[in-house]
């Protein structure tokens, strides 16, 4: 244990905390921005892969498959190191938000699509029988029921997005992992510094996973009624 802690003192850890806290806030900010952009994008993709127009449908399908199929790290590096070749230079924070939003959009589109598909077909037939427009049917009948099914999975995915912000280390966003790595490499306190970063993740993810399983139970109770 001594070999791991390398003589780090509580004093040291206390001095690191402000830096870690700022890094944590950056991780949270990237998560919130990516969810705020990514989930509506997922909605668009989910509806887009079901439209009649072939060009739109295949484009959405292609974007979803790229967003889900390529590693998040490669997407991040593509946006940050690749897009400048096409004349689109963005800062590290913006690049992180763009790449993770796209990734989130692709994944949540599948979650939302399966939620919408879980709505019984009779509901759609009733919409047509009542002569509602396609949009009104979605807005008032299908989406309110489908989203209820999708919410637990979306919450679970939000935890993964928060964990995924750790990859922004690779494009030099000063988030939690970058702070830990900097302290580790400057003072050689790798294990303690990385451990403190780990505590931040555990402190968020374990309570959050309890909330998700509570939401799952509640959604299950709803569908059984």
């Amino acid at each position: 244990m001594d070999a791991l802690l390398m003589g780090v003192t509580w004093e040291d850890v206390r001095n690191w905390l402000p830096s870690f806290w700022n890094g944590f806030l950056i991780s949270v900010r990237i998560t919130l921005v990516s969810l705020a952009i990514g989930i509506p994008l997922g909605f668009l993709f989910a509806l887009g892969v079901q439209v009649k127009n072939r060009a739109v449908r295949y484009l959405c399908l292609l974007l979803v498959e790229i967003g889900r199929g390529a590693p998040a790290l490669v997407l991040l590096q593509f946006v940050y190191f690749g897009l400048p070749n096409a004349g689109l230079s963005v800062g590290a924070f913006a690049a992180a938000c763009i790449a993770i939003s796209f990734n989130t959009g692709a994944y949540t589109s599948e979650i939302i699509r399966s939620g919408l598909e879980a709505v019984p077909a009779g509901q759609n037939e009733a919409v047509m029988a009542l002569g509602m427009t396609r949009w009104d049917g979605l807005r008032f009948v299908i989406i309110p029921q489908g989203i209820r099914v999708a919410i637990p999975a979306l919450l679970g995915f939000a935890i993964l997005v928060f964990q995924g912000t750790s990859l922004c280390f690779a494009i030099a966003v000063p988030e939690l992992i970058s702070r830990a790595y900097d302290i580790g490499s400057m003072q050689f306190f790798y294990f303690p510094a990385l451990g403190v970063a780990g505590i931040f993740y555990v402190a968020v993810c374990i309570p959050a996973s309890f909330i998700v399983s509570w939401a799952e139970r509640r959604a299950g109770a709803y569908s059984q009624r």
């Binding site: 490669v74 593509f78 190191f81 750790s166 690779a170 580790g184 790798y190 780990g198 993740y201 993810c205």
Partner: protein, 214 residues
């Protein structure tokens, strides 16, 4: 992109496959006792295992890599970048496979247990002849999905210098300043790599399903 750079990136393909395969193998083997312990009737063991599983899952993979490569590496056990990555992803794969196996066990009908008790099966026979074959069949699709996810996650090993696909792509991009096409090619390679895994899983599932009368 020249042929040389393309070949240089492609040389990372076996490393990505080896890393994913070894981690998955470790996870598939260790995940099983982990799943049993997480369902044990002995409460302290069950709580401990469930705690360990949610702890390992709540720390992001990049942090496990750094903890094992830099953290342990700077004082306790020094591992090569590749072995550190295998250990880190093996650990993550083990807890995720335990969850997948648990899902497979839950899917087994309760009547199967009752029938085994009625027929006086020993616990060993119950698992070997009744539970495991059914659990494996149910677990295959989710295990394949997880294998594809693990393969994409293995790109994170590039941050500690494992010379796999993403790492080589990164090197070429820094040398040539042609990030756009290099990362596009690397991303495409990962997508292409996931296609045979998905096909294999469908095939395996079909094969196993054919053996079961319904």
């Amino acid at each position: 992109m020249t042929v040389d750079t393309a070949l240089y990136i492609l040389a990372g393909l076996p490393v990505t496959i080896a890393l994913t395969g070894l981690a998955l193998l470790f996870g598939a083997v260790v995940g099983f006792p982990l799943m049993l312990a997480a369902q044990s009737a002995f409460t302290p063991l069950r709580l401990l295992t469930v705690g360990v599983i949610s702890f390992v899952r709540s720390v992001p993979p990049i942090l496990w890599l750094f903890l094992i490569f830099f953290g342990l590496g700077s004082g306790v056990v020094t591992l090569s970048a590749f072995s550190a990555a295998v250990v880190a992803f093996g650990l993550i794969a083990a807890v995720n496979m335990a969850e997948i196996y648990r899902g497979g066990m839950v899917a087994i009908h309760h009547g199967q247990y009752e029938a085994a008790i009625a027929l006086n099966f020993s616990t060993y026979r119950l698992y070997r002849d009744i539970l495991i074959p059914q659990m494996v069949r149910v677990s295959i699709p989710s295990a394949a999905t997880y294998a594809i996810g693990l393969m994409k996650d293995s790109a994170i090993a590039s941050t500690i210098g494992v010379a796999e696909l993403a790492f080589r792509g990164n090197q070429i991009s820094l040398q040539t300043y042609r990030g756009l096409e290099v990362y596009a090619v690397v991303g495409l390679l990962y997508i292409l790599l996931s296609l045979p895994v998905a096909a294999l899983s469908r095939e395996a599932e079909r094969h196993l399903r054919a053996k079961v009368s319904r």
